[in-house]
């Protein structure tokens, strides 16, 4: 193991397909037209000195160190900004060039502290390297001249420091903030010698628009922008490439280590999902893995009101197994089940569902995708034939029009959000359909052409209205539809959407979006060369979530926007492995690879490999499990890496269900909300402590590599295996690799996937098999997976969750950049500096009506319950709509969400809850009870600690 130092070619690769041959220092080199001399030289191992150039951003030509000489040309051009040309002859080194470079370095060092030995960059500093490379031996200017050595250090950001005294004003940070991240938080203030990096208008980093993505830190060639962890721990000595465990972008990271300690997480330049970019979560918020709250000893207890008992792994596993067996004996085979998690690896998810099916002997397995993207699986399978997004992330760089529906990429999928913004800055047009004014609607150098600010719950009406315009204004791509789609289904759909009641004019009453705007947006999308749709939970988490997904697929097919780069239907998956956990057969009705349990061929395939008889009837979905628990027929649950007590709707109902069970086994890093209702706690391993794979939103399977030993001794799959063995169903995997091999042998779309392939390729997008040995970046090329694309009518049925005099506002929920999902991880990091509590966003009109100002405590009351939050009065939300995030358990966001769910998949209707908001003095009864319960449970934990 060694520290991976990425080669920096200095300037980005040229996309040209035309090649040019030139001679550099006497060596012939052939590179694509448009390549810089610097990159061409680097490609044959000639590294021209440089400081302002780095290959993640466009050349800038400011440091002037990279001067070269071109035969027949004048002067000493900068090699970073000089494009190659055919027959060019370049000299990169001679006495004159060296003299110039030395002169430049002499200038740099005349305004730089000489504290190399105690500098955090010592050993990894480009300035230091360049001084060495050019052979700088003296600084004749002395050090008494004008300088920046006394500049004040900005330590406001929790993760990195900004030390202007070490700054060489190369602008790499400014350019990274602009080009890579697209936030434009940094600029240069002043000019000439007084030029300095300025966050915002000379603010501290934390007070500026900075989103702490780390792109500037990554780009800095000196210690000016430096991780605090490196200040504390020193330079790392080895690194391991792994995959981020936060959102569905699935960024590749280098864990830079010292021993078993992570010094920093550095985005992997070669990462195919992120290309060296990151966000504040993946880049910096990994401290939870070593947080003191981590539980590393198995625990058991009889009742949830008993103190925990620390026990050995063997005892814990045996106890859990005996309980499950006891329950099954007493209440029957179907009285227990398991939950996989989208945060776990494919191998873990696969193993848990296998345990449920083979060891429990039923199909009572479900996953948290139930509550996020189950409608995607259903809708896309029905229409296109595959339960997955159609594109790569990079595809967006070919899009001409981007339609974002119910997604907030800059918060939820920030690294992809940055890529999308890059494309938008290049001129692609943007349509946003969202009740709320998300950042994409208007931010630095990005502005949506149309913001269709619809009322929550009316997605289907809007999608139908868009379709109506396409169909009635002759915008259908007839050739595509005739050739690629099922014509009968198209005709039926066309006749349906063409009806007047689906027109923008007729829909306006539901959606609240001006008909003209809908018409123009539809024309824009349909007339784009490449139109791409990106959507998120704002589409799926509705009573008609599946209908909207189908409607989106209809739009894409009708306009011919499927089956090539730049187009497609792109679900933005919430968690790191939503796609994977679904692929792995985590649903009660599907075996791995989305094959129905009722299908005899599939079942016998699995039966032969697993050596066990499989149940042909689908098992219970999560909400069914809750209902059955309350009914008394479901008594035991194995829950791995999911926190249903916080994340699932109607918290009181979930709590009641959990309290009704006799054995709840929670496998997690922390004593999460669900664990407070558990009888067995099995310590989990963080992503840094295990091996496996995650599959991101673009079907990209990326390796998760263990960088440190599991704190509790076992990787999660090993725990599942122990439990299965104890239950009497033998598993004997010696590594995650063996599990992946089994998955590959059973899933046609995974046939070619192996750790060996991932080591070679970095990652691979499924389907990966004999037909597509290198994977499939774009799906449905030439033909849909299901053969002919299938249109389906999408009748708009208003949700039963209506506003009334008593509940006049609609609450919708979402998330924020710095926090992740239920917050179990990010709340245990310094990310709380950005978001320390969930607040209720309310429009000034609604606030005024209720005498509410920002910061007031308000009760949010729905038909399901009541909770209290502080307010933020903002025009981001429309009148009649309030909004909050759900990152803190004490917020009780799901105390107020209801039992309503998607008609097809039971995905909860999180996005629409009728509420009333009123100013109050104290917290809600639920919150008070929650606090008391939390205190009780923490004392149970403390007692265990004392006893242990």
């Amino acid at each position: 193991m060694s520290l991976i130092r990425d080669k920096d070619y200095g300037t980005p690769a040229s996309p040209s397909e035309k090649n040019v041959t030139l001679e550099i220092d006497g060596f012939k080199v052939t590179v694509p037209e448009g390549t810089s001399v610097m990159r061409a030289a680097s490609s044959i191992g000639i590294e021209i000195p440089k400081l302002c150039a780095t290959d993640s951003i466009d050349p800038f030509g400011s440091c002037r160190l990279c001067v070269c000489q071109v035969e027949g040309g004048r002067g000493y051009p900068a090699s970073c900004t000089t494009p190659v040309s055919q027959g060019m002859k370049v000299q990169t080194e001679n006495a004159k060039l060296n003299q110039i470079r030395k002169g430049i370095m002499e200038l740099y060092i005349s305004d730089h502290p000489l504290d190399c030995l105690t500098c955090p960059s010592n050993g990894n500093c480009e300035l230091q390297d360049m001084a060495g490379t050019v052979g700088l031996r003296e600084v004749r200017y002395g050090y008494e001249g004008k300088n920046h050595l006394k500049s004040e250090k900005d330590t406001s950001n929790p993760y990195f420091t900004f030390d202007p005294s070490k700054c060489i004003v190369c602008s790499r940070c400014v350019r990274a903030c602009e080009e890579t991240q697209g936030t434009f938080a940094l600029t240069i203030d002043g000019r000439g010698f007084d030029s300095k990096i300025s966050p915002g208008q000379n603010e501290a980093f934390m007070d500026s628009e900075c989103v702490s993505c780390g792109a500037c830190v990554q780009a800095c060639p000196t210690a000016t922008l430096m991780e605090k962890s490196v200040y504390q721990k020193g330079q790392p000595d080895h690194s391991i490439i792994t995959t981020c465990a936060y959102c569905g972008v699935g960024c590749s990271f280098k864990a830079e280590m010292k021993g078993a300690e992570v010094v920093r997480m550095v985005p992997d330049k070669n990462g195919q999902a992120n290309h060296g970019h990151s966000c504040v979560k993946g880049r910096f918020a990994f401290g939870y893995a070593t947080h003191p709250d981590r539980l590393t000893t198995p625990m058991i207890r009889k009742s949830i009101h008993d103190p925990w008992q620390k026990v050995s792994w063997e005892d814990a596993i045996n106890y859990a197994a005996s309980e499950f067996k006891r329950i099954q004996e007493k209440y029957g085979r179907y009285s227990v089940g398991g939950l996989t998690s989208s945060r776990c690896t494919n191998e873990e998810a696969y193993l848990v569902q296998k345990l449920v099916r083979a060891a429990f002997g039923n199909n009572n397995v479900d996953t948290c995708a139930r509550v996020c993207h189950s409608p995607t699986g259903y809708g896309l399978k029905q229409t296109l034939g595959e339960s997955a997004g159609t594109q790569t992330f990079d595809s967006v760089m070919q899009s001409d029009v981007i339609l974002v529906i119910g997604a907030n990429p800059t918060d939820g999928h920030p690294v992809f959000g940055s890529l999308m913004k890059k494309r938008l800055r290049e001129g692609a047009k943007l349509i946003v359909a969202d009740p709320r004014e998300i950042d994409l609607v208007k931010s630095a150098h990005v502005k949506a052409e149309y913001h269709l600010k619809l009322r929550p719950g009316t997605n289907v009406a809007l999608v139908n209205a868009l379709a109506h315009v396409i169909v009635t204004e002759g915008l259908v791509k007839e050739d595509f539809v005739n050739e690629r789609c099922d014509i009968d289904s198209f005709n039926k759909w066309r006749d349906f959407v063409a009806q007047e009641r689906n027109s923008p004019e007729a829909s306006e009453i539901h959606t609240g979006v001006a008909a003209q705007k809908v018409r123009e947006a539809a024309r824009l999308y349909a007339s784009a060369g490449n139109g791409a749709i990106y959507y998120g939970l704002g589409v799926t988490e509705h009573s008609q979530g599946s209908t909207t997904v189908i409607g989106i697929a209809n739009l894409a097919m009708a306009t011919g926007n499927v089956g090539r780069e730049g187009v497609g239907v792109n679900p933005l998956r919430g968690q790191n492995n939503v796609q994977g956990s679904c692929d792995m057969g985590s649903f009660p009705h599907e075996l791995p690879g989305y094959r129905h349990v009722a299908d005899v061929t599939t079942r016998s395939l699995f039966e032969s490999v697993w050596g066990v008889k499989l149940e042909a009837e689908p098992g219970l979905r999560i909400p069914n499990m809750f209902a059955a628990a309350i009914d008394g027929s479901f008594k035991g649950l194995y829950c791995e890496g999911e926190d249903i007590a916080q994340s699932d709707p109607n918290t009181q109902h979930v709590q009641e269900a959990l309290e009704s069970m006799e054995c709840v086994v929670v496998q997690d890093l922390f004593l999460n909300e669900t664990a407070k209702f558990a009888h067995v706690f099995l310590p989990g391993a963080s992503f840094l402590e295990k091996t496996g794979t995650f599959t991101n939103a673009e079907r990209r399977i990326s390796p998760v590599r263990r960088v440190m030993p599991p704190k509790a001794g076992y990787e999660d799959w090993e725990v599942t295996q122990m439990l299965s063995n104890a239950l009497g169903y033998a598993m004997d995997y010696s590594s995650a690799k063996e599990i992946l091999d089994e998955i590959a042998s059973l899933m046609p779309t995974f046939k070619g996937v192996s750790f060996k392939k991932l080591d070679e390729q970095g990652s691979v997008q499924w389907p990966c098999n004999d037909e597509a040995p290198d994977g499939t970046p774009t799906m449905h090329i030439g033909q849909f997976v299901r053969g002919k694309g299938r249109f389906m009518p999408t009748e708009y049925v208003p949700t039963s969750e209506r506003t009334t005099g008593k509940y006049p506002l609609i609450l919708t929920t979402g998330r924020i950049l710095s926090q992740y999902n239920v917050g179990a991880q990010t709340r245990r990091t310094d990310n709380v500096a950005w978001h320390s509590e969930d607040r209720l966003e309310i429009h000034p009109h609604d606030a005024e009506d209720r005498g509410i100002v920002t910061g007031d405590k308000v009760a949010i009351r729905s038909r399901a319950g009541v909770t209290v939050l502080h307010t933020l009065v903002t025009e981001r939300v429309q009148p009649g709509v309030v909004y909050t995030t759900f990152h803190f358990p004490e917020s009780g966001a799901n105390v107020i969400t209801t039992d309503n769910s998607d008609w097809a998949t039971n995905c909860p209707e999180y996005k629409v809850t009728a509420v009333q908001v009123e100013k109050v003095a104290g917290f809600s009864q639920w919150q008070n009870e929650f606090q008391a319960f939390t205190e009780e449970q923490l004392s149970m934990l403390e007692k265990a600690t004392a006893a242990g």
Binding site: G61, S62, T82, Y108, D111, Y141, V169, R191
Partner: protein, 511 residues
């Protein structure tokens, strides 16, 4: 019949009291019941004679100057309105030697017409170039400009026709014409005079440029310190629009060209074409690297002609009289005329438009009349703050880009600043470095840090601190700046510094 009296409204005349003079003439005439037609013309460019009042007589325009308000009653007493003799009388304006010997092509109307009168402009051969251009194919317009031998008058002397041809052939949706009117060089004012005193010629030149390359939008990037030029340009643009010389349908041709003035924010470096474009786009005035050339990727990333005021203002006469006509003036590869601006310590400062080939000595003595102090001229700085100091030994060099280059000097924008023998050239070298330090955009290292260190090193030299080593260091620094700066600001600062050091070593402590 009323008599026409001309009192310049040009800012050089105004700064010498022309406004008061004009008021005095008007009120004196009213008091005396004399009917006059007071025209605020531009300046003839004879600054030591400003305010230069002219009276139209049957024999021609008769000049009086410099006329202060206090001189006015006396002039009336002397019946100056009918050419009566007076101590301030200069005779027929056209016969004033300084003016008579000039070859005014670009400045043909400057000082003669009412700058904002389209009628006056048309009466003085205005818009004839445009009328011709409208009859030509774009490539033929470009050919005329190429044939004329016109080179960029902003200082870089790049052949204008070649630049236009590149833009003509460039692929791009919207093309632009940008006029660099950020005239920031010390001792220069020819751009200002065109814009104040004959703004239509610039408007016409830009319109022709638009027709030539297929650009429908033009911008004049004007330095904020030129409020009079701003006012007159806007007036000219409005008049041209109204009369159909600008807009969607130029003179009924169906061709469009629109023009807008944008103000700079006081940065010298924004006169550098690429930082000008950045500034015009609303960004910080940072220099861009080249290639890509602005002709390929200029304003908002589109093909852009960016030319200096004088270059563009020379186009109408080229299109009027033909490339050959213009080309017949000048020497070698320097064709046509150059508006030279005499300033500094000179007896007769002003504008001298002459064909290339005239020597510095002729300019300094025949036109300039020697130094204002009467002391010997020690050096002149030609081409603004980045131009070399030229010693007396080189005064016989003809004004010609190549001849100057051979002396390691530049013509630049044609500004000539004169110093007598009391000047300390070490301090001038320090001043040049300091100018660079103050005006550096801060992008490239040699200029950003180098200019500040240059000042410090020169301070040490002046203070006689380790002089030999510091002079060696100054030379090394100059070499780095010269060879590796991103733009001419850092790249040419060594011109004044090293020319001072090389030509006047005694000022740097040499024995």
């Amino acid at each position: 019949m009323s008599i026409t009296v001309y009192v310049p409204g040009d800012s050089s005349a105004l700064s010498l009291g022309a406004e008061k003079t004009a008021v005095a003439i008007a009120s004196e005439a009213a008091q005396r019941g004399v009917e006059i037609d007071l025209v605020r013309n531009g300046s003839r460019g004879l600054f030591w004679l400003e305010p230069l009042v002219e009276v139209a007589t049957p024999a021609g325009r008769i000049a009086f100057g410099p006329v202060q308000a206090s001189d006015v009653p006396g002039l009336f007493d002397a019946d100056f309105l009918n050419g009566g003799s007076h101590a301030l009388s200069l005779g027929l304006t056209e016969e004033i030697e300084y003016l008579k010997k000039q070859e005014r092509l670009t400045n043909a109307r400057v000082g003669i017409i009412d700058p904002v009168s389209l009628e006056d402009y048309l009466a003085h051969e205005g818009y004839r170039g445009l009328q011709n251009a409208l009859q030509l194919a774009p490539a033929d317009i470009v050919k005329q400009v190429t044939d004329s031998g016109l080179r960029g008058r902003g200082g870089a002397a790049f052949p204008t026709g070649i630049k236009w041809n590149t833009v003509l052939n460039a692929q791009g949706g919207q093309k632009y014409i940008v006029c660099n009117a950020d005239e920031g060089d010390s001792g220069t004012f020819s751009d200002r005079m065109i814009m104040e005193d004959d703004p239509f010629v610039l408007v016409e030149g830009m319109t022709i440029a638009g027709l030539a390359v297929g650009a429908t939008q033009g911008y004049i990037y004007l330095r904020v310190e030129y409020p009079h030029a701003h006012k007159n340009l806007n007036a000219a643009i409005a008049a041209a629009e109204k009369a159909g010389y600008l807009g969607a349908d130029i003179c009924g041709s169906g061709k469009a060209f629109n023009l807008e003035v944008r103000l700079g924010a006081g940065a010298y470096v924004c006169g550098e074409e690429t930082s000008l474009l950045e500034s015009l786009e609303g960004k910080r005035g940072l220099v861009r690297y080249k290639p890509p050339l602005p002709a390929i990727k200029g304003l908002f990333g589109q093909p852009t002609v960016i030319n200096n005021v004088i270059s563009l203002a020379s186009v109408p006469i080229i299109l009027d009289k033909g490339g050959e006509y213009y080309r017949d003036f000048g020497v070698g590869r320097s064709r046509g005329t150059l508006p030279i601006q005499l300033a500094g310590n000179i007896k007769h400062p002003g504008l001298v438009e002459k064909a290339f080939g005239i020597t510095l000595r002729e300019l300094l003595y025949d036109y300039g009349g020697g130094s204002a102090t009467g002391l010997p001229i020690k050096a002149v700085q030609v081409g603004g703050p980045l131009g070399a100091f030229v010693p007396e030994s080189q005064f016989d060099t003809p004004l010609d880009y190549e001849a100057f280059a051979a002396n390691w000097a530049v013509l630049g924008h044609g500004g000539v600043v004169v110093f007598d023998d009391t000047v300390d050239m070490a301090k001038m070298a320090r001043y040049a470095m300091e100018f660079c330090a103050i005006e550096s955009c801060g992008k490239c290292t040699p200029c950003r840090i180098g200019s500040t260190r240059g000042v410090e090193v020169l301070d040490k030299i002046i203070a006689n601190e380790d002089r030999a080593n510091n002079i060696a260091l100054l030379r090394d620094l100059s070499d780095v700046m010269l060879n590796s700066s991103l733009c001419a600001l850092g790249g040419m600062t060594p011109f004044p510094v090293l020319s001072a050091l090389n030509h006047f070593p005694e000022d740097f402590g040499a024995e």
